[in-house]
């Protein structure tokens, strides 16, 4: 027995919201909206719904509703969906003292249903349009496979969000074991960020990513904070002082974190001078933003274990910052300890402070 292929869904035909998603749209789509497109109706619906036949008496259905604690039942005749009977319909019959009547007399015939392969957003649209409280769900062959309520949708989204949270935990666990799982004589993870000159609006973005990456890799919060602050000052220096931007680079090794900021100009004439607290060449605009008081490099020096500054008017500037970390921090376990993503594991990390 062969069935005609099911029609394509709106999403398959036109993508989300029936038109190409622009970058601006994409920014405004939050995770819950995303899930309402990603989750399919079959994933959140209640399966094996209670059904009735058109010949069943209303009294019987009322008893069924009471026992199964549902407030609406799809009506099937020869396995085809022919109607739906809701508690409101039963109340209508009760008012007329009509409970001995059959379901056929009181059921709603124009049933609004949804297809199991559609996204839950389709069900949300139909709830909004029709004002009904539940929708029968049919498959490709128009066979009833379930029933969906707004409560099912809310529950489905909450479960999916919970899975997201667990996925972040897992990502963190995996990343923190990177150096253990990949064997080489010397493993280095390098992350590069291009920083644009005068891009004050995005200033600090790269440093945020650096800090987050270090936390995911298993760095303890204090180390991540020190690295984040050093990277942020260096990033602001690239934005404030360079002629054509520069590169902020994070290199992570099991024993050591290196952050460097390199640019190709204009270079520093007197390196000794810029290391004096309070020395600054920053403009009034930069000072108004709370920077440029000649404390950036001093701050960096206090946050890192070692700082090197090389600069020339010909080549530009290279600032290298190193932070030593205890071996067990980034290899994901203390020596001699089994590695489990347990709370003990995190306690071990937080003990490895500077």
């Amino acid at each position: 027995m062969s069935h005609p292929p099911r029609p394509p869904t709106d999403q398959e035909l036109y993508g989300r919201s029936g038109r190409p998603v622009t970058d601006k749209d994409a920014q405004e789509i939050n995770r819950v909206e995303e899930l309402s497109y990603d989750l399919k109706i079959r994933e959140v619906m209640s399966k094996n719904p209670v059904t009735a036949s058109p010949e069943t008496s209303l009294a019987e259905v009322l008893e069924l509703m009471r026992i199964r604690q549902v407030s609406g039942v799809p009506v099937l005749e020869n396995e085809q969906l022919v109607g739906i009977l809701s508690i409101e319909d039963v109340v209508r019959a009760m008012n007329r003292n009509d409970l001995t009547e059959s379901v056929r007399q009181y059921m709603t015939r124009d049933v609004v249903s949804v297809a199991s392969y559609e996204s839950i957003v389709k069900a949300m649209q139909k709830f909004a349009e029709s004002g009904v409280g539940r929708l029968p769900v049919v498959d490709e062959h128009n066979q009833l496979v379930g029933i969906i309520t707004k409560g099912d949708i809310t529950r489905g989204i909450l479960i999916a969000l919970q899975k997201d949270y667990k996925a972040e935990e897992l990502r963190r666990y995996r990343a923190s074991h990177l150096f253990e799982d990949i064997i080489s004589d010397r493993t280095t993870l390098v992350l590069r960020y291009a920083i644009k000159q005068q891009d004050f609006t995005r200033g600090g973005n790269a440093s945020s990513h650096i800090k987050r990456a270090l936390l995911r890799l298993g760095a303890d919060p204090q180390t991540a904070r020190r690295c984040g602050i050093a990277a942020y000052e260096a990033e602001m220096n690239l934005i404030i002082h360079t002629t054509s931007g520069g590169i902020l680079k994070l290199e992570v090794e099991p024993y050591r974190i290196t952050i460097s900021a390199t640019d190709d100009g204009p270079g520093i004439a007197d390196v000794e001078q810029v290391l004096q607290p309070g020395y600054s060449t920053a403009t009034e605009k930069v000072r108004e933003m709370g920077f440029g008081a000649g404390m950036g490099l001093i701050n960096i020096q206090r946050c890192v274990d070692k700082m090197e500054l090389e600069s020339s008017l010909e080549k530009g500037t290279k600032l290298i910052m190193r932070i030593h970390v205890p071996e067990e921090t980034l290899t994901g376990r203390a020596k001699g300890q089994p590695n489990e993503p347990s709370s003990d594991h995190r306690t071990t990390q937080s003990e490895t402070t500077d």
Binding site: F200, R225, G290, F291, A293, M295
Partner: protein, 120 residues
């Protein structure tokens, strides 16, 4: 001290109604120079500042502040507000000046989270 209590103490208005104010603030730090904030603050404090650009939010995130109070009734730029909501950093505006603000919070029992800088 809870952030909602702090808002009452400083006659503040909450600028980020989207965010949860039921958070514990452990200390305070006041500065208009972001490098000072980065250098001498401890995590989980509230930042009192007269600056309103997006860098304030970035700085607060990097130094792990829990909320920002703008002094002298200052209002943040649109970008600042957007970044704060995105990064879950509550913004409060208080009509009081920096000195008065610090004084009120200190006498209500909020400790200073400004660390002393080692003399060089």
């Amino acid at each position: 001290m809870n952030l909602t209590e702090i808002i009452k103490l400083v006659d503040g208005s909450n600028l980020t109604s989207e965010l949860n104010l039921d958070i514990e603030i452990e200390g305070g730090c006041g500065a208009d120079l972001m490098s000072d904030v980065l250098l001498s603050s401890q995590p989980n404090a509230v930042l009192l500042t007269g600056l309103t650009n997006p860098q304030v939010v970035r700085t607060a995130l990097m130094a792990e502040f829990r909320a920002i109070i703008f002094v002298r009734g200052k209002r943040p730029q649109a970008e600042t507000l957007q970044l704060a909501i995105q990064e879950n950093m509550p913004l409060i505006s208080s009509p009081l000046g920096m000195f008065e603000l610090c004084g009120r919070l200190r006498s209500a029992g909020l400790p200073s989270f400004e660390s002393h800088v080692p003399s060089s």
